[in-house]
C-alpha cells in the first residue's frame, strides 16, 4: 500500500516534469522514470508479467528509440530553446476540466467490486494461454501491425538511393 502510494507519487511528478522540462533529453529520462514507476504500480496490482513487459518494451525499447531520435535531432548546447507554445493557459484549463470530468464520471458510475485473486504461480501462464486461445486473432493482428510498422519505419527513415 505504502509502496503503491510512493510509485503513484513518483509517476505523477515524473509525468509533470516530462511535459514541463525545457531540455528534451531530460524529458525522455523522466519519461523512463515514469514508465518504471508505472511498472511498479503494475507489480503492486498483481500483474507481474505486464510489469516486466512494461520494463522490457517501454524502457528497453521505446525510450531507447526516443533517445536515438533526440540525439540525432538536438545537441546539448541547443537544448535551451523554449519548448512550450503560447497556448499554455488554455491547455491547463482544458486538462483540469478533462481530469475533473473523468473523475466525476467515475464517481457516478456504480461499480461492483469483486477482487481478482492472482494465481500464486503468477499471471504469465494464464496470460500466455489466453493469448493463444481466446485472443488468438488480436494477437496475430498485433504481430502483423508490428511487422508493418517495422517495414514502414525502415522505409521512412532509411537512406534513399542505396
Amino acid at each position: 500500500m505504502l509502496l503503491l502510494l510512493l510509485f503513484a507519487a513518483i509517476a505523477i511528478i515524473a509525468a509533470i516534469l516530462v511535459v514541463s522540462m525545457k531540455n528534451i533529453m531530460h524529458c525522455a529520462l523522466f519519461l523512463a522514470l515514469f514508465l518504471l514507476s508505472v511498472a511498479g504500480i503494475f507489480f503492486c496490482l498483481d500483474a507481474d508479467f505486464l510489469g516486466i513487459v512494461q520494463i522490457l518494451v517501454y524502457v528497453g525499447g521505446i525510450i531507447v528509440l526516443i533517445l536515438f531520435a533526440v540525439m540525432l535531432t538536438s545537441r546539448v548546447s541547443s537544448a535551451l530553446l523554449e519548448q512550450t507554445n503560447e497556448q499554455k493557459g488554455l491547455a491547463i484549463t482544458a486538462c483540469l476540466l478533462l481530469a475533473s470530468a473523468i473523475t466525476a464520471a467515475a464517481f457516478r458510475t456504480p461499480l461492483v467490486t469483486s477482487f481478482y485473486t492472482a494465481d500464486p504461480e503468477g499471471t504469465t501462464r494464464s496470460t500466455g494461454e489466453l493469448l493463444l486461445t481466446v485472443y488468438a486473432l488480436p494477437f496475430e493482428i498485433a504481430s502483423v501491425v508490428l511487422l508493418v510498422a517495422l517495414i514502414g519505419a525502415i522505409v521512412l527513415a532509411g537512406k534513399k538511393g542505396e
Binding site: A47, L50, A153, A157
Partner: protein
C-alpha cells in the same frame, strides 16, 4: 483499496499527457506525451482487472496490445520525425508548414 483512486491517478496522468501534446513545440515531446496517455489507460485497465475481476483477465491482456501498438506508433512516429528532420532540419512543429501557403 478501491478502484476510484486509480481512476483518479490515471485521469491526472492522462490530463498531463493531453497538456503536453497541446503545448509541446518539439515533435518528439508530443510523442512522449502520447506515451503518457497510453500508460494512463494501461493503469486504468490493470486496476479495473484487479478490483472488478474482469472476464478472461482482459484487463491484463489488453494492455499488452496497447504496449504493442505503442511500440509500433513510436517506431513509425520517430521514423517520420527523422525523415522530416532530414528534409527541413527542424523538429519544431510550428515550423513544419510546407503543406500550407
Amino acid at each position: 483499496m478501491m478502484l476510484l483512486p486509480f481512476i483518479g491517478l490515471s485521469a491526472i496522468i492522462f490530463a498531463i499527457g493531453i497538456y503536453g501534446a497541446l503545448t509541446r513545440r518539439n515533435a518528439i515531446g508530443i510523442l512522449m506525451s502520447l506515451e503518457l496517455m497510453f500508460n494512463a489507460a494501461n493503469i486504468n485497465l490493470v486496476a479495473a482487472n484487479k478490483f472488478l475481476n474482469l472476464e478472461n483477465s482482459i484487463g491484463i491482456i489488453f494492455p499488452i496490445f496497447i504496449i504493442t501498438i505503442a511500440a509500433a506508433e513510436a517506431a513509425v512516429g520517430l521514423a517520420i520525425i527523422l525523415s522530416l528532420y532530414r528534409q527541413i532540419k527542424t523538429v519544431y512543429v510550428e515550423k513544419i508548414n510546407i503543406m500550407k501557403w
